[in-house]
Symmetry: C3
Subunit: 476 residues, 3 copies
Amino acid sequence: VEAGGVSPLHEDRYFDPDPIVRRHARALYDETRALPIISPHGHVDPAILASDEAFKDPASLIITPDHYILRMLYSQGVPLEWLGVVPIDGKPPNAEPNPRRIWQTFVDHWQFFRGTPTRAWFEYVLHEVFGVQSELDSASAPLVYDAIAEKLLSPEFRPRALFKRFKIEVLATTDAASDTLEHHKALRTVELGGRVIPTFRPDALFRISSPEWSAELSRFERVSGGTIGSYAELMRAVARRRADFKAMGATATDHAVVVPHTERLDEREAERLFAKAGERAAKVEDQARFEAHLLMEMARMSVDDGLVMQLHTGALRDHNELVHRRFGSDRGGDIPVATEFTRNLRPLLNAYGNDARFRIIVFTLDESTYSRELAPLAGHYPAMLLGAPWWFNDSIEGMTRFRRQTTETAAIQNTAGFTDDTRAFCSIPARHDLARRVYANYLAGLVARHVIDMTDASEMARALAYDLAKRAYRLT
Amino acid sequence: VEAGGVSPLHEDRYFDPDPIVRRHARALYDETRALPIISPHGHVDPAILASDEAFKDPASLIITPDHYILRMLYSQGVPLEWLGVVPIDGKPPNAEPNPRRIWQTFVDHWQFFRGTPTRAWFEYVLHEVFGVQSELDSASAPLVYDAIAEKLLSPEFRPRALFKRFKIEVLATTDAASDTLEHHKALRTVELGGRVIPTFRPDALFRISSPEWSAELSRFERVSGGTIGSYAELMRAVARRRADFKAMGATATDHAVVVPHTERLDEREAERLFAKAGERAAKVEDQARFEAHLLMEMARMSVDDGLVMQLHTGALRDHNELVHRRFGSDRGGDIPVATEFTRNLRPLLNAYGNDARFRIIVFTLDESTYSRELAPLAGHYPAMLLGAPWWFNDSIEGMTRFRRQTTETAAIQNTAGFTDDTRAFCSIPARHDLARRVYANYLAGLVARHVIDMTDASEMARALAYDLAKRAYRLT
Amino acid sequence: VEAGGVSPLHEDRYFDPDPIVRRHARALYDETRALPIISPHGHVDPAILASDEAFKDPASLIITPDHYILRMLYSQGVPLEWLGVVPIDGKPPNAEPNPRRIWQTFVDHWQFFRGTPTRAWFEYVLHEVFGVQSELDSASAPLVYDAIAEKLLSPEFRPRALFKRFKIEVLATTDAASDTLEHHKALRTVELGGRVIPTFRPDALFRISSPEWSAELSRFERVSGGTIGSYAELMRAVARRRADFKAMGATATDHAVVVPHTERLDEREAERLFAKAGERAAKVEDQARFEAHLLMEMARMSVDDGLVMQLHTGALRDHNELVHRRFGSDRGGDIPVATEFTRNLRPLLNAYGNDARFRIIVFTLDESTYSRELAPLAGHYPAMLLGAPWWFNDSIEGMTRFRRQTTETAAIQNTAGFTDDTRAFCSIPARHDLARRVYANYLAGLVARHVIDMTDASEMARALAYDLAKRAYRLT
């Protein structure tokens, strides 16, 4: 995706210094660096590509929407308003959103990102996507801003042009069950050199103790055609809606829960909980049971319609209530919790895990479960794959730990390859490049220790960069 | 154990590529590679050695009994019948057990084992035990099968001949409390160049809520001489039976529990639970309390008779009910759970952990307990040792993590060395060779960083390969 | 801190052997090795410096008080009396405390410390602090003893002289709320080339179910001026006492809990619990709720007075009751437990975590929380820092794991640098030297992989060795 010019990024970055490992890593990376991008899970707004409008400015493009950046600067005492985040609590912000000032504030704290993946991704975006040749520091910040701002005005930096340059073969977005999918509809007829497809994420519909549940149900009723007065009707509408998503290209669903408990309720109990929700009387415990049951139901429907089921577990959302009230969700205040899979997933895996039509991809934020629970489960059940190292663990050390702790038990074939999971469109190639480097280096280490040979490594590198994600998400 | 011929295995496999580390690793491995094998815990069937019959065929020898192979292929959609596993549920199998076809099926999936210890062990068995010189792939599979099949007919590949060639000094099997020990009896008079000894494993006798409990009690009554009508009688019979095992050479007992809870009940309560079991009315909670009490009792008896107590914790057996119903246990469907030791073992360690006559070796599948709980416990209590990295963690990365996470707190002396824990007789030398290489490499890394010197490393390498296991299991 | 003479310690110890990493590590270590020592948390007895008496003998100086040494030798069957620990249970000891014999016993078990930080620190003390040039073994033990004993008689080895030679800029002790601070008072007027300051640790005052609570309350009443008859009076006295500590130079408080639960009680409930304690009727659960509330209160007071709040969590003290009864606390029998932070700290962080006046430094013994809970929390809340790897994890591998598992999410700026946490005065420079080496090596690895450059690494090395601790503990 190079924009031309001389990049200050080191060609061998993230490779071990040992000359044998480095030589192998370089060779393996060279074989995978130019492969098309499969991005089967992420949060890019499809409106960006549907409208193809020029991006507004460098700050709103790459600073303000990035919760990794927000959290780090907030931890260092920088108010979120200084980074362009708009308060939603009605109280006046303590700064005007000025893109140049936001950019400068960020760059003035650049040093705090040393050793973080945010910095690695950001440098790639600067130097490889935007062709910036100078190093970033407080003095160069305004010039770099200008250079990027100028690029954003040119047709080569419009979203669709970048989509092609990034060589994206598939980009899956994540969409509420109540989403109209209008942008996906619009994109069906656009020649992008690759697909943009939705992912069915019905979480909000199942959070029956949430104050926002009724509004979500109303939205869902609007798109799914008609009043939903019972649990049975909800299930029928969900099944129809899954078919709509599938018709629009979706190959997967996505489900986020704090605790991955799974348990089938009887129909009457499910109806009772739905009725309680309708009366706005559902408690947190009611929701927990409803969600546990709905995971079973989503698995059952996946057996029928073939949509791959993704499970993202263990993030306690909006831990910081002050930040949540003032700025809303996704501002960097989500914190992981310890997660149990062996007992929690047992009912679901016993019901559907032996069925070749079913596929479930499980993501965790709790690394202690890699070798203890998830690799053994994925290394046994035909239907289960282990999702890529996620979020905080989508990093050089995090991906390395993941492979070291899962390959010996689950092999790479029981994992789902790489997913970038980003909402920052321009960082997509940055994240894939980092992953391809890290995996090349991991495999090079195995070759150097004679655990595998270069023929093995070559196929595995390609699998990790491309094949596994495509197969896991049924994108062929 | 080389069978002659040129092995395609790299002489420096599993060693770091850094030239200093590699040089030290090679030197340390050379000092330990030819040491006799101490195998103080495993699941080899003593009948193999007692009968000394030729092994039947390559598939039933090294494919069908290996639950690591079964789980991996099953996860990739291969039916267990294709691997020779016989259904026990009365329904017809979906494949005839044909050893050549089983072998070919396995080899056709050989690539899935890249980077797994199964592959490393298997390659050793092929090339070092059976002297196969060609690489294994789908095309060579029939030839390799023939080569091994031919070897199996020759006297040099009979079990006892292999036992001698493997240089096994001690091989401990694992035997139910109700086992007649007839094969061990027979082996007492056979010259093997080493000992085969039993290990007392009474678990089934303590699982009072299991439907199989009565049958096990009956079997136990038969071997222990008389009806057992009370808890007190059970305890007396267990003590006598331990003496029988000891007379047959046993130096250890083995106990598997999911949760290592320990708690002494009063005699009346223990009698009440036993009576409840007799009426087939014992619940899961009753069994949990009975087992917690029995661990205390087994420790008490170990103080008396000197048998080393092994505790294997944290495996949820038969997670996959479909596989369990159709094929029985040990088919690759056991999954670890998070395990707590600090509070659970406290009663037992307070009662017996300061007693020099007592020794308990604790195994875990939960790596998060290495540095947090087990190394601190083993690094304090005189009676406790930390068992070798077990099962899923008995691997290159797993053993390396184990030593890195335990040595600084517990030192190697508070660990029990290496145990191969295998039911695959031919893989015994493969597993010891892998461990000796990995530990040589671990120590070489310490020498290269000047944490220890080569004199230290040399003694430690020998300890890890031989001395520690011998001392831990009182095999001198 | 070299005492002169040729040390047998390798100049490049603890550095990776890779020549590129080693070159960078050496350079980074050279930049930090001579920096002054900031020791913001530890357990040195201030009386040592206040009296400046010569240390008595090598055994009572560096063997008997070291619980790392006690635990290791105890685990190998050495009675604690042989190491000079005096029984407190009235029963006669099984050995006379003879410093030469203690020393010899220790050295005879020297091999058990291979690969442990104890050995690394001890060797530094021997060779760098005391200038011993011969290697330590059973034969040389008496000579080494004599050499150290002789040194101890000379003025250069008096505590204050060593304090200067160690280049200690700040040494914080840990002091009960009821401590008279007389030694700190005395030290205020002594020219040491650095400060000795107290830390306010009120734990004993909040353990309302402990049999020792009344005695502690009485002691506290004596120093805080007057009878405390209510919870409200206790809080007022605590606030006054914090001010006393602050006047004596304190910049921090310290709080040890097994479970870091935080929860505000209403005033009436807190009074009820205090009254129950007064009647010696408070239960373990009462104490848990009282402590959870008191953590909230300590945070509130920190907002007011600016004292940095330290939280040490997850150590189950005196696990071994026999050792505890016979020899008291801090003899090596404390064992970590799994610890939950995300939910437990939420009330406290929501109440105070966004407040720039507040600072909380959290320590854990549960490494599984590094990447899962603590780095995400510290990488978000402005008030929270992650404390140095603690106790069992204050080691070469432990510190390396800590940085690898936290830097990518929290960056080094959200950690509190290094704290030696030692009660062994002479080991202070040993621990800082080890940490500076390990961190230089960690950063060198990042440079060698082109994650950061040498300019970054240089600033980070200094931050980890000096700046971060100073800033974290408000020592400027």
